[in-house]
């Protein structure tokens, strides 16, 4: 099977380790991975800030970049949610046949845990990660994609991993894109509560499926000097005994 990796712009520019881990994980599972270089941003920051028209070229670019792939996989709940829910809205107002092209692409785009569990039909991906981990389900994966317990099922099958329940897991971490800047005080208060809950679990690693939320939480934890490290689900699932995850 051949899939296109939709790395997402945040991973490309700021967290390449997430995209690299996704490549290694998928290849280990026998999937051939392409990275269509024409891809860019899904337009989520612009769309959610009210700049819908500025997203139109990015929607067209996304449609073009992934044309011809049966499966497009992204290690990001919120970027996939943008493709699924925002792109049709942008396309409907843009005209020029974009709606049809978007409608054709949307069902082929998968968030990583969806692709693993629903398409490949695996929960045990052969990973090894001997650390206590707690999992924060980011809002868009949770509510817009309905990922449910797919990420937890994948984590439970990881050898050596001790999964600790995060109290109030379903509450937003306070990132919210430009919300983190426009309403910094409330955003920081939400991050403080989320990191306190995660620290109280005793976990060494705070796992999530959305890099942006992890950058926000990780930045908060580093400022606190807290002994808790944010890691993307892909990085944990890519880790094996032969090739264990190493801090970059």
């Amino acid at each position: 099977m051949r899939v296109a990796l939709f790395a997402t712009c945040v991973n490309d520019a700021l967290m390449p380790s997430t995209a690299i881990a996704t490549v290694r994980l998928l290849e280990r599972l026998g999937v051939e991975v392409d990275f269509p270089a024409a891809q860019s941003c899904c337009g989520q920051p612009q769309f959610n800030s009210g700049y819908r028209r500025a997203c139109e070229p990015l929607v067209r670019r996304t449609v073009r970049a992934f044309a011809g792939y049966r499966h497009v996989v992204a290690p990001s709940g919120s970027c996939v949610a943008t493709v699924r829910t925002a792109h049709p809205r942008i396309a409907a107002r843009a005209g020029g046949g974009l709606a049809a092209a978007v409608g054709e692409l949307t069902p082929r785009v998968y968030e990583l845990s969806e692709f693993l569990v629903d398409v490949l039909g695996v929960e045990d991906v052969g990973a090894w990660f001997p650390h206590p981990v707690t999992y924060h389900p980011s809002c868009h994966g949770l509510r817009l994609l309905g990922l449910g317990d797919r990420p937890l099922r994948l984590l439970r099958a990881v050898r050596g991993l001790e999964l600790l329940e995060l109290p109030g897991a379903e509450e937003c971490c306070g990132f919210g894109g430009t919300f983190a800047l426009k309403n910094a005080a409330v955003s920081a208060a939400m991050a403080a509560d989320k990191t306190a809950a995660a620290l109280a679990t005793g976990a060494e690693v705070l796992c999530g499926g959305d890099t942006s939320c992890l950058l926000h939480l990780g930045g908060t934890l580093r400022r606190q000097g807290a002994p808790l490290r944010p890691l993307h689900l892909a990085e944990i699932l890519a880790s094996t005994e032969a090739e264990p995850w190493r801090a970059p």
């Binding site: 509510r143 908060t220 400022r223």
Partner: protein, 475 residues
């Protein structure tokens, strides 16, 4: 809306101040956390919740599509039952009508059933200007009124107060508005309730005029419905001679049967109760002589005040489905930390963030900031019993604000960012420049960037973007 909300700071400033208020944070965390858990249990009991929710949405949408038809039908049936219907285009007209109606009775005071519509139009202030005292009789509204305070929650207006604060307000202020609080009042809930009961009972027995809102109006019969928990509303609806109800035009339902859906959804969503404690329904004036229950004179003031503008917006109009249950407030992480006052409106929380800018416009800094008072986490949409996609409307309203004159710079910046993202050569160059200069990046940013670095480290820029790794390893 009410003049008391004019001149307030924009949401981010007000919320930043509220976040520092430890007592407010504790009061809100406790109150919203408790009701959130109870609501989840009450909703989980009904196997057909999703169907009820879909039905409620459908009934409301169908009604909004033919609102003119149902309102005229309502008017006919209210009139046939002995009531009088008045149409008010805005707050000023509604206040003028109500003031005139009270004056015509010769009375100088009214008792009030908890009502969002009359708060929206600032009726109490308008009546006060005309020399008429309006007494709030809902317990929480009484606390707010006695404390010269503003409501901070739709259903629990005094949610920002704990019982110690309430005791102090009762002890200090009750005497100014009527029967004083009993000597030695403590903060025991039963004692506080008894103090309120004695204080209010005097007003119920004396009042000749009551003012209410309504949760629902039934077009086919001309019936109005008030849903409340204390029985104080029913006192107002049954004892006084004259009843004046001020109701938003979106509250109409076509048939009596439609109530079946909403009387299941509302109490479970609002107070986590299986059945609402006091549901009062009345149709016009009472028909069984002067000694019967209910008013001898009934006036219905149908309030527009911006609602037809909301109705004209295909995306925004779903906000008119709202049944004011407050489930979205109780589940909202932003509301829990910012508190209701930061929203600068009688409608706080997620529903306020989409309703206020539609009713009042987005001209003031406060109203323009409301669509951004959300991380778009979607918890509000998940719990909304009439399935209002609040995040969708928030983003829609952000577009309206972003298209405005004050956002030229931001619009240019967004266009520039999108241009770079749409040109992979430029994007790659920017990524590489960031990677090459990464050791020089400051730990704390000046200007707007401080909003991030005041509490968070900046992400460390990696030595190379993923694109370059791919080219080296797989390309």
């Amino acid at each position: 809306m009410s003049g008391t909300f004019l001149g307030l700071p924009a949401f981010p400033e007000a919320a930043a101040a509220a976040v520092q208020d430890e007592r407010l944070r504790a009061n809100l965390r406790h109150a919203t956390g408790t009701i959130r858990a109870k609501r989840a249990r009450a909703v989980a009991e009904l196997a057909d919740w999703a169907e009820l929710r879909a039905a409620a949405k459908a009934v409301k949408d169908r009604t909004l599509d033919r609102l003119d038809h149902y309102l005229v039908r309502l008017e006919q049936n209210v009139t046939a039952a002995g009531g009088q219907v008045h149409w008010a285009a805005d707050a000023e007209e509604a206040n003028r009508i109500v003031t005139g109606l009270v004056r015509a009775t010769g009375e100088r005071e009214v008792v009030k059933v908890k009502s969002m519509a009359t708060q929206e139009i600032g009726l109490n202030e308008a009546l006060a200007e005309a020399g008429i005292r309006a007494y709030e009789t809902d317990l929480a509204e009484l606390i707010v009124q006695l404390g010269n305070d503003r409501p901070s929650h739709i259903l629990v207006p005094a949610i920002h107060r704990n019982r110690g604060e309430i005791r102090d307000i009762f002890a200090d202020r009750m005497a100014d508005l009527g029967r004083p609080a009993p000597e030695g009042l403590t903060d025991e809930p039963a004692e506080l309730a008894e103090a309120a009961r004695l204080h209010l009972r005097e007003k119920f027995l004396r009042a000749k005029v009551a003012v209410s809102g309504a949760n629902f109006m039934i077009a086919e019969t001309g019936t109005l419905v008030v849903v409340e928990s204390e029985g104080n509303g029913r006192m107002c609806l049954t004892l006084p001679r004259t009843l004046i109800s001020v109701v938003g035009i979106e509250k109409v339902l076509p048939t009596w049967r439609d109530l079946e859906i909403f009387l299941q959804l509302l109490p479970r969503s609002a107070t986590a109760e299986r059945m609402n404690p006091y549901t009062s329904l009345w149709t016009g004036t009472h028909a069984d002589g002067p000694d019967g229950d209910g008013p001898e004179e009934f006036h219905l003031v149908l309030l527009d005040n911006g609602r037809t503008d909301v109705l004209a917006d295909r995306t925004g109009r779903q906000a008119l489905r709202c049944i004011r249950c407050s489930a979205c407030l109780n589940v909202c992480p932003v509301y829990e930390r910012a508190g209701g006052h930061a929203y600068g409106s009688v409608y706080p929380g997620p529903i306020g963030a989409i309703l206020t800018p539609q009713l009042r416009g987005t001209e003031t800094p406060l109203d323009a900031s409301l669509p951004y008072a959300s991380s778009l986490c979607g918890a509000c949409y998940e719990v909304c019993p009439v399935a209002i996609d609040i995040p969708e409307v928030l983003v829609h309203l952000r577009e309206r604000v972003a298209d405005g004159p004050r956002h030229r710079l931001a619009r240019a910046a967004a266009a520039a960012a999108a241009y770079v993202l749409d040109h992979p050569g430029l994007l790659r160059a920017a990524e590489r420049a960031a990677a090459r200069t990464r050791r020089l990046h400051p730990r704390r940013l000046p200007g707007p960037g401080r909003a991030w670095t005041d509490t968070r480290e900046l992400p460390a820029v990696p030595p190379e973007p993923f694109r370059d790794w791919w080219r080296r390893n797989r390309g």
